[in-house]
């Protein structure tokens, strides 16, 4: 599904990713952990195609397509979804209109007709139940006045609506209380599927108690320095990141 080779990227001439390699198979859930400043969120931004992030070397193959050749909106239409660490508020734009625009953009890309109002509402009903998103939240402006937890639930709702091939969750657990964490995780788990992969970026082990990964990678100074099965996350939790750093040294 996703093959990243020797990826180098910088922001305003400061190199952040320094030769990152990662392979995610179809249907797999990979977790990326690492200390602050190791490049976790940069990886998410580079994959999503954010403008300020400049790729200086390496390649990213997304399901047979050269991802780096596509602009951000085409990456999304090809099935890449980023759940934002800080979801953005768009005042005056209703959540549902926003989703309808997104779904129709994707359908147009696939050569399909715009979704009918009836199908759209049925989809909204089904997917919002997944993350217990109330009608009140669905009908409001995109993320405006949402609490931190509501914003994250809205991200997962959008993910469910758009049914991506690859979902990148950027610190989706940050700012969540235990109930919201459970709801968000259950939403993600319900979407696990043989044709869908996840890249879960997190600072803490606790999210991985709920979303159990197939593989865990440790990112440090722009490179993946250690990979292992899900138990690696527990080990990190117990020993801290210094243990890895010492291991490299």
């Amino acid at each position: 599904m996703l093959t990243i080779k020797n990826l180098h990227a910088q922001v305003e001439d400061t190199p952040i990713l320094k030769g990152l390699n990662l392979e995610i198979g179809s249907g797999e859930v990979h977790a990326i952990m690492g200390p602050n400043g190791s490049g976790k969120s940069t990886l998410a931004s580079v994959l999503a195609g954010r403008e300020d992030y400049e790729v200086t070397a390496g390649s990213v193959d997304f399901d047979g397509t050269d991802l780096l050749e596509l602009d951000a909106s085409d990456r999304a239409r090809e099935g890449l979804f980023l759940a934002f660490q800080y979801p953005v508020e768009i005042p005056g734009v209703s959540n549902l209109n926003f989703m309808k625009a997104a779904i129709n953009a994707k359908r147009e890309h696939q050569g399909l007709e715009a979704i009918t109002a009836k199908d759209f509402l049925a989809l909204v009903k089904e997917k919002s139940a997944l993350v217990e998103l109330s009608g009140r939240l669905r009908d409001r402006s995109v993320n405006e006045g949402f609490s931190g937890g509501e914003k994250k639930r809205n991200e997962i709702f959008q993910m469910a609506m758009l049914e991506p091939k690859l979902a990148v969750l950027d610190e989706t657990d940050s700012g969540l209380d235990i109930d919201a964490l459970r709801i968000v995780s259950e939403g993600v788990n319900a979407m696990r599927d043989a044709g869908r992969s996840f890249l879960v970026i997190t600072h803490y082990q606790r999210l991985l108690d709920h979303i159990v990964p197939d593989h865990v990678h440790v990112l440090s100074d722009g490179q993946i320095v250690k990979s292992g099965p899900k138990e690696l996350a527990l080990e990190l939790e117990a020993k801290g990141y210094d243990w890895i750093k010492e291991g490299i040294a």
């Binding site: 909106s73 999304a76 934002f84 005056g92 625009a101 997104a102 953009a105 890309h109």
Partner: protein, 482 residues
């Protein structure tokens, strides 16, 4: 954003032709260029006007000659040469029309391009359209239906002949001849416009709408609109404009007067999309409009405007809250792009007790344009417990445009409550990226964000108008982020 990216976007903007930039080829009955008493007599004669109106015009002309063009607006433009304009042009179409089939096919084609063909309007929307082209109304529909209710909705020329007592009583009563330079000029040379009278207690069952269109090269447009809502009546009035592409500047100096008598309500909505000129600002329409309404006891006037066109806009729809407990509202979205300049806002003059006014102004500036809000809230000594709330927001699309706010507040009564809020923000790259990441392209993202920003105002427009306005906003701002 990188500079080469901006250049590319600018190229796209400038490369985009003005969508409604077509002209219709109709013979015009046109007055010679220039302005003097003889021209005014000619206009009056052509229109078979009564003597009192000619005298009124001549007096206005005298007043205008003694006035000077205002310098205070935040606008830079070449002053029009008033002697280089032809002050009268009427499509050559004299006889009364029995049906739509008799309308000039060229004219119908123009209406089709504008998407407002009368038969469609008649069939689909239930909107009576008084289509004003080059100053003379050429077709009026739904008149019979309105007549049953006693509603008068016709061209100003017709009203002058058919309802002289109403015209004589109210014309110039809200915007006096000497009010300002352009109002005086309009009073002297106005050729046509719309007239509307709603009788006592009648709620007008449909939106009344007039589409103005400037169609004669070098012809100034001097429309005169008068809307009178008698006691306890209600009317919603729509005005929308598009203009053909021109090389020389076209002057437009309209006057709109609204009279809301006791317990009446007038809702006046405008979508304005006149040719703004090319990327250098050349060839656009100059729009100097005086719009004002007077509110009697417990009445209400609500102005809603979406301004996307014109090279230069000078416009302050205002309310004189004369009666106790009367209400004035002003909702505005003003978009400027490229070299456009807009100096627009409102005046709320509180005279009566417990009068209330609300001002919501949303400015959007793109390209190298200049967008100013200018507003006056005036609470006079007798206006006990008057209240005003003003909110003026500005959205910047580039680093090269300007947004300015000039709020004037004069309170002469200690019991008044006046609130003013203002914000300025730049369109967020975070917001655009968020949309892109959901698969929505940049053009559509900007359209969504801008329409969201302007929603409070767009929501005040009647349904069909709101849809048109949303499209206009998107078209006006295509490729304008930088």
């Amino acid at each position: 954003m990188a500079y080469d990216g901006e250049d590319k976007i600018l190229e796209e903007v400038t490369g985009k032709a003005y969508e409604f930039g077509f002209t219709t080829d109709i013979d015009s009955d046109k007055a010679p260029v220039g302005l003097n008493e003889d021209i005014i007599r000619l206009i009056s004669t052509k229109k078979n006007e009564p003597e009192w109106l000619l005298e009124w015009r001549l007096k206005a002309f005298e007043t205008w000659q003694a006035m000077v063009e205002p310098e205070w607006p935040h606008l830079q433009y070449k002053k029009p040469d008033f002697q280089a304009i032809s002050y009268y042009a009427a499509p050559k179409q004299k006889k009364e029309l029995a049906s739509m089939d008799e309308v000039d096919p060229e004219l119908r084609k123009t209406m089709d391009k504008l998407g407002i063909s009368l038969e469609e309007q008649k069939r689909l929307s239930g909107v009576a359209v008084d289509f004003v082209m080059d100053s003379v109304s050429v077709a009026t529909s739904f008149k019979d239906k309105l007549a049953e209710l006693g509603i008068i909705f016709c061209s100003m020329s017709e009203a002058v002949l058919e309802h002289p007592e109403l015209v004589k009583k109210y014309i110039g009563s809200v915007v006096p001849v000497r009010d300002n330079y352009y109002a005086a000029l309009n009073s002297a040379v106005f050729t046509d416009g719309s007239f509307c009278y709603i009788p006592k207690g009648v709620k007008c069952p449909m939106e009344l709408s007039t589409y103005f269109r400037i169609n004669e090269s070098g012809t100034g447009q001097f429309e005169r609109t008068l809307v009178i809502a008698d006691e306890s009546s209600y009317v919603s009035y729509l005005e929308g404009c598009t203009a053909p592409q021109r090389d020389e500047n076209q002057l437009h100096a309209a006057v709109v007067e609204l009279i809301a008598l006791k317990d009446a309500e007038i809702k006046y909505s405008t979508v304005q999309n006149w040719y703004p000129g090319d990327e250098e600002g050349k060839g656009g329409v100059y729009n100097f409009v005086t719009k004002r309404g007077i509110c009697h006891t417990r009445s209400k006037i609500s102005w809603t405007q979406v301004e996307t066109g014109s090279a230069v806009t000078w416009k302050y729809p205002s309310c004189v809250l004369k009666g106790d407990d009367s209400v004035g509202e002003f909702y505005s979205v003003a978009v400027t792009n490229n070299m456009q300049q807009a100096d627009t806002g409102t005046k709320m003059i509180h005279l009566g007790k417990r009068t209330r006014s609300t001002i919501i102004s949303k400015g959007i500036s793109a390209g190298k344009s200049q967008n100013s809000y200018r507003g006056l809230v005036q609470i006079m000594p007798n206006a006990d417990h008057a209240r005003n709330f003003s909110q003026c927001d500005s959205l910047l699309m580039t680093d090269r445009c300007g947004a300015h706010t000039f709020p004037y507040i004069e309170t002469k009564n200690p019991t008044a409550q006046v609130e003013h809020e203002a914000t300025t923000s730049k369109i967020g790259e975070d917001q655009i990226f968020y949309c892109l990441q959901r698969g929505i392209d940049e053009e559509q993202a900007i359209s969504l964000i801008v329409n969201g920003y302007a929603k409070e105002v767009l929501n005040k427009l009647p349904m069909e108008f709101a849809v048109e306005a949303q499209k206009l906003l998107a078209i006006s701002l295509e490729g304008s982020v930088g």
